[in-house]
């Protein structure tokens, strides 16, 4: 009933989706899997109308159509159950169910809440929920809210003439096993009412629920399997694609480090409630540790905890072999030579309206001022030397960073931490949004920092980066370290990583 033919989408030079062929039949549950960046979320956004395809055609029941906005897609029968729940906590359940459509219950200018409650009960019955629709939504459990979200989408049934296709985006990520079972039961029951597209990084769940599974890689559908014939290992193999040799990863450029010396950083059984649990590792001078995992697995929280942005609930973190040293704020982290390059470069990394020199000294103003006055000449000297060292492309050291390319901005942030004398540097998606050449520059800088004896924790963009850069790779899944790879002793493949993650 819903069919995509040769759908493509580009963002500038990047091909996010190319020639996607995809269809959902009536009463079918279709699984959609793929690695981070494979194009899953772009495809979903096109399906529910948040993005428009650049080329290709979309059919509903054989009739060609297009979705100009989420509302438009909705009116044509596409419903979306968001991963980030879209219910408003301070409203009652019934108000959420009919948000934006209250005029159906208007009488003499006032809302007839009795009628709305009645209609709500009918909707809630569809998903097997027996709760008072006048209750405030924030008082319910997460899984209950998820079912309400599903019920909200199902209100489309009465509004549109055609059939429904419902997208479920990572619906199980925060549910307990029992709750997942309940959800699947309900989805299976609802198959008579609607078709489903099920997106999840938990392969076993996708296999058990779906009738058919599409595997995406690099913006293309690389495999299509029947649910009953699907095998996790086969799907994982197609998610990863080609086997690649050592040379591709440039593993030969990785330098050894001294494992016998006291570690720069030692993490023991660290836990932060609701973010991660029981994380342990050591980081030595010159070592590169890569954290691999899905979005929201807890990698960012681990790094931010080390930088003093979250406080530890349990466990211990020892910096520089000094148990008395506690990092409780970014300020403390920076003064103890710990640097952090956040993922959101434009919001957290770079000061766009400040120039290169100002950016570089922002973490070390104490050293570049006397009696509260800045030593501007020294700042410019510092900036000039790093512009030279990292070959930053800029007209001058006093150029505002907003005028630099993404890659050069990233170099400025790295120069900031290196010039501050950081001994531990954490990099969250350092190559995100950069072109190939700029990525290579970042890899080179990471290797140089490793050679200079800096301990590095990297959250890489791709598996290839993790394998190419890391001395060690830790796979984080649902806030726990599920597997550690020592890349100096074994040849790790993307397949190994995917198997541990999913």
């Amino acid at each position: 009933m819903l069919e995509f033919k040769n759908v493509s989408k580009e963002f500038g030079p990047v091909k996010a989706l190319s020639n996607i062929n995809f269809k959902v039949d009536k009463g079918e549950i279709v699984g959609l899997v793929g690695e981070n960046g494979a194009g899953k979320s772009t495809l979903m956004k096109i399906i529910f109308g948040a993005y428009q395809a650049d080329s290709g055609t979309i059919f509903i029941d054989g009739r060609q159509t297009r979705f100009t906005s989420p509302r438009d897609a909705m009116s044509q029968g596409i419903g979306m159950v968001f991963q980030e729940q879209s219910l408003i906590g301070n409203l009652s359940v019934m108000e959420n169910l009919f948000l934006g459509r209250e005029q159906e219950f208007r009488r003499f200018g006032l809302i007839d809440f009795k009628k709305m409650a009645e209609a709500s009960r009918a909707q809630l019955a569809k998903v097997g929920l027996d709760i008072d629709p006048t209750i405030e939504t924030s008082k319910l459990s997460f899984s209950q809210r998820q079912l309400i979200e599903l019920a909200k989408v199902l209100t489309l049934e009465e509004r549109i003439s055609g059939d429904l296709v419902i997208l479920l985006d990572e619906p199980t990520s925060v549910l307990s096993e029992d709750e997942v079972g309940l959800l699947f039961e309900i989805v299976n029951k609802l198959k008579t009412r609607a078709a489903f597209i099920f997106v999840s990084h938990r392969l076993d769940e996708v296999i058990s629920l779906s009738d058919r599974i599409y595997v995406l890689k690099d913006g293309e559908v690389v495999d299509e399997v029947k649910g009953n014939k699907a095998k996790a290992s086969n799907i994982q193999a197609s998610m990863v694609g080609r086997e690649i040799n050592t040379e591709y990863y440039r593993q030969d450029q990785r330098l050894p480090f001294d494992k016998e010396a006291a570690p720069l950083l030692s993490v023991q059984n660290a836990s932060v409630a609701k973010k991660f649990e029981d994380i342990s590792f050591d980081l030595h001078a010159g070592q590169v540790l890569c954290l691999v995992g899905t979005e929201g697995a807890g990698r960012e929280a681990i790094v931010r905890t080390l930088f003093g942005m979250h406080s530890l609930d349990r466990g211990a973190i020892t910096f520089f072999d000094k148990p008395s040293l506690k990092i409780t704020s970014p300020h403390a982290a920076v003064s103890n030579h710990i640097g952090y390059m956040p993922r959101e470069r434009k919001i957290e990394g770079i000061f766009a309206s400040m120039n290169i020199a100002e950016n570089m000294t922002s973490s070390q103003l104490g050293a570049y001022s006397r009696y509260g006055l800045l030593k501007k000449a020294d700042e410019l000297k510092l900036a000039a030397s790093w512009i030279d060292k990292l070959s930053i492309k800029t007209p001058s050291a006093s150029t505002d960073c907003i005028r630099l390319s993404g890659g050069n901005q990233q170099k400025v942030v790295l120069a900031k931490w290196r010039s501050t004398g950081s001994r531990i540097i954490m990099l969250d998606h350092p190559t995100r949004g950069l072109d190939i050449g700029a990525k290579e520059d970042v890899y080179t800088m990471i290797r140089e920092m490793s050679a200079a004896g800096i301990g590095l924790i990297v959250i890489p963009d791709t598996f290839e980066e993790a394998i190419g850069l890391g001395h060690n790779i830790t796979v984080v899944k649902d806030g726990r370290a599920v597997k550690n790879f020592n890349c100096m002793q074994e040849q790790v493949t993307p397949f190994d990583l995917v198997s541990a993650m999913t």
Binding site: F307, P330, H331, A333, V334, S335, Y340, P342, E344, I347, E348, G349, I350, F351, A352, S353, M354, E358, T361, S362, S363, L365, G366, Y368, S369, G372, L373, L374, K376, K416
Partner: protein, 312 residues
């Protein structure tokens, strides 16, 4: 070219206005009267300088006017006893009260327009209490002895202009040359990045509000010296043009760009608009309306909408 025009549009506005008004009435281009005009606006300029720091970090200080009001009362009451010390004492009072606004904002996450409004209420109350709710007159002997020079001129230049220039240079030094100024810029242009660079963001913000309070107090001192007295609502009517001066000058509500030079230009624009209303025979009673409208236009043009995901 377009970029140059865009980043210097406050200068363009100023010169266009001066030329336009001058064309209508040639008397406007009289250096002497222009200087007097500038001298008169010095208290407003100093208040606007203070506000610049609050707006520069993306906040606002609505207590500036009440602060100046209260300081006119304090200055009138204690000039005779404190002598020249009145200036640092008043400045300190402003710094402390402004700092309290900042502390309330950063420590308890109260939006600055509320915390400063509340501190403004406190100032107003204190002013009424201290003055017994009536107009006060300064001890004229002390005033003439200590500050009489401020009311006369050097050649054709009113001496208040030198006072304004002195404060301006200090503010410029803070903005351009000091570590604090750099931190203010960092917090204003990307608060999260500032925090991730290890800057103590709350402390920087408190200092910005303290500076704003201190300069508003200084404006109050100079104003009361000019009027030789004080009253709890004598400086009412300062807040609007001061905010207009900052925003028209090109320091947007979203923070991070602009600065004290912009405010200098903005204040001159305000002065020109004000006096042009006299020349063009627009009644003084229209001023507030005109400035309100100018304020809206200025915000529309300066605000950086990419920094606002949802406009509340």
């Amino acid at each position: 070219m377009r970029d140059i025009l865009k980043s210097n549009y406050h200068w363009v506005t100023l010169f266009t206005l001066v030329i336009l008004v001058g064309l209508v009435d040639m008397n406007f281009w009289n250096i002497e009267s222009l200087l007097i005009l500038m001298g008169d606006i010095v208290p407003l300029f100093i208040m606007a300088l203070g506000l610049t720091f609050a707006i520069y970090i993306g906040g606002i200080d609505l207590s500036a006017q009440s602060m100046a009001n209260m300081i006119t009362v304090i200055a009138s009451l204690y000039l005779a006893t404190l002598g020249l010390w009145i200036v640092p004492v008043c400045f300190l009072v402003g710094v402390i009260l402004g700092g309290i606004s900042g502390l309330i904002t950063t420590r308890f996450l109260v939006p600055s327009f509320i915390s400063t409004l509340a501190i403004g209420g406190v100032c107003y109350s204190l002013a009424q209490w201290l003055s017994g709710n009536r107009a006060l007159y300064m001890n004229s002997e002390s005033r003439d002895a200590l500050f009489g020079w401020m009311l006369s001129s050097t050649g054709i230049v009113p001496n208040t202009i030198f006072v304004g220039a002195f404060v301006f240079v200090i503010a410029l030094l803070i903005e351009r040359r000091s570590s604090l100024g750099r931190q203010l810029k960092a917090v204003g242009s990307a608060e999260l990045a500032a925090s991730a660079s290890g800057l103590l963001v709350p402390r920087v913000k408190v200092l910005a509000f303290a500076l704003s309070g201190g300069l508003a107090a200084l404006a109050g001192v100079i104003f009361s010296i000019k009027l030789s007295g004080g009253a709890p609502s004598i400086a009412n009517g300062f807040l609007l043009p001061a905010i207009v001066a900052v925003l028209v000058g090109g320091t947007p509500l979203t923070g991070g760009v602009g600065g004290v030079v912009n405010t200098l230009v903005g204040t001159m624009i305000v002065a020109v608009i004000r006096s042009s209303m006299l020349y063009l025979e627009v009644a003084a009673t229209h001023q507030q309306m005109v400035f309100g409208i100018v304020l809206i236009i200025a915000i529309v043009f300066t605000i950086d909408r990419s920094k606002l995901s949802i406009v509340k």
